[in-house]
């Protein structure tokens, strides 16, 4: 096995090209190092292209190798993509967050990967470059080929960064999860939402839950309940019911029953939507 720390994105792509499928990219190693390793690893964790975090041209751009710890600490992410900061702050443990990356969380394609769930609610796209030098953008929710299987072939394609519109005035986002413990436990359910208001009226809403399907899943029926209304008590109660009945969830002997998971989806959906809504209203220049 050989391990190469790439110096820039082009060199990383060149190594992948030369190795004809034998090499694979690695970032924080927190997922890949526990699996069977390929003949060659190309480390992307230190590249200029994958470590930048910036707002430009109306987009937030987060390098794929930005660690969970730096995303959770970043004032830019906390103020303009709170859901992502909250998700990253809950992953694993301080040790895992100090080295695990956002791009790795997406490419690893676990059904309830926390950062990925927040990114889908925020409407993020992955900017992917392949060994032919072609660059494309794909919505994060489109990157799942099956349970724990990504559409991205990490021996010939690299996520350089993740991009989305930052939350502006009148917008808010939030992330919540339920896990057996607050650290070192995978979530039984995680949810994220992004809401835009005008006055107190909801103009746009994206609500995501996992694990429901292989990919973080939009709850379209629940979203529809909230479109173009000023939500009150009755609506919030309906939201909980709608979210719980909209999802087809499975239980597992090791984690929890399907019924419990369904209950959690409902409860967390209501809470996360309320939180995102309150944040959106609070940032809406005080118009009430």
């Amino acid at each position: 096995m050989s391990y190469i720390i790439a110096s820039d994105l082009n060199q990383a792509l060149q190594i992948l090209r030369d190795s004809k499928g034998q090499a694979r990219v690695i970032a924080g190693a927190t997922d890949l190092f526990l699996q069977t390793l390929p003949a060659e690893l190309v480390d992307l964790a230190e590249l200029y292209e994958t470590t930048q975090l910036e707002e430009s041209g109306g987009l937030l751009s987060i390098g794929s190798a930005v660690t969970h710890a730096s995303a959770a600490r970043s004032l830019l992410i906390r103020s303009k993509a709170a859901a992502l900061a909250e998700a990253c702050a809950m992953i694993g443990s301080p040790q895992v967050r100090n080295i695990g990356t956002i791009g790795g969380n997406v490419a690893n394609a676990a059904p309830a990967a926390d950062a990925a769930v927040a990114l889908v609610a925020l409407g993020a796209k992955a900017v992917i470059t392949d060994i032919e030098g072609q660059t494309r953008e794909e919505a994060v929710e489109e990157l799942y080929a099956g349970y724990n299987r990504s559409v991205i072939d990490s021996s010939s394609e690299i996520i350089g960064r993740l991009v989305f519109k930052p939350c502006a005035a009148g917008e808010g986002s939030a992330f919540m999860r339920f896990a057996p413990r607050r650290a070192l436990a995978l979530p039984l359910v995680n949810v994220a939402a992004r809401i835009r208001v005008s006055g107190r009226r909801i103009e746009a809403v994206r609500m995501v839950a996992a694990p429901v399907k292989p990919a973080p899943t939009r709850l379209f029926e629940t979203e529809a309940l909230l479109q173009e209304i000023i939500p009150g008590h009755e609506i919030w109660a309906k939201v909980e019911e709608a979210a719980a009945s909209e999802v087809e969830v499975r239980g597992s002997i090791l984690r929890c029953s399907g019924q419990y998971r369904r209950h959690l989806v409902g409860t967390l959906a209501e809470r996360v939507l309320k939180e995102a809504y309150q944040r959106a209203c609070a940032s809406d220049g005080g118009e009430t």
């Binding site: 096995m1 190693a29 927190t30 690893l41 301080p94 040790q95 895992v96 070192l184």
Partner: protein, 162 residues
């Protein structure tokens, strides 16, 4: 298996090793360099017994490919004490009864050390958060929390004296 030359800084000293590129930093430290203070518990990122500081940040050495540390600083528990003295943080662990079987202690101490370096006056909540990646089957964590707060207080006093 192919070996690779790796240059890094270990506890303040530059070192060069030839090692299995696919091996972990944990096995490099314990097996090849004889630094047995770093413990192996789960080998899968779940227990924190193998915690070391990589460029001042706590990480699980069992999850770090040895080749990843090229050009970086690695700090292990051995760096905190000499043959005669222990670090004030370690003294606080002893004083507060935070060491029972001791297996988690090197990792706990390093997580706490990194916290106090970044945040000399942590709240109890911040201490809990900082050691949340370190499992202890003996202490119940309360004593560890008290030890870290005690060390922070000592530091406070030391700095107000000079």
């Amino acid at each position: 298996m192919k070996k690779q030359a790796i240059n890094f800084e270990l506890n303040g000293e530059p070192v060069e090793v030839f090692t299995e590129a696919s091996g972990s930093l944990l096995h490099l430290l314990r097996g090849q360099l004889g630094l047995l203070g770093t413990k192996e518990g789960c080998g899968a990122g779940e227990c924190g017994a193998c915690t070391v500081l990589l460029d001042n940040q706590p990480v699980n050495a069992c999850l770090v490919p040895a080749a990843k540390i090229e050009g970086k600083q690695v700090q292990t528990i051995e760096s905190l004490s000499t043959s005669n003295t222990v670090h004030p943080l370690q003294e606080s662990f002893v004083k507060k009864g935070a060491v029972q079987c001791g297996f988690c202690t090197p990792g706990m101490v390093l997580s706490a050390y990194a916290l106090l370096k970044a945040n000399p006056d942590p709240t109890p909540g911040e201490v809990k958060e900082a050691i949340s990646g370190n499992l202890c089957r003996c202490s119940g964590y309360k004593q560890v929390e008290e030890a870290v707060l005690d060390a922070a207080e000592k530091k406070d006093q030391a700095s107000s004296e000079d």
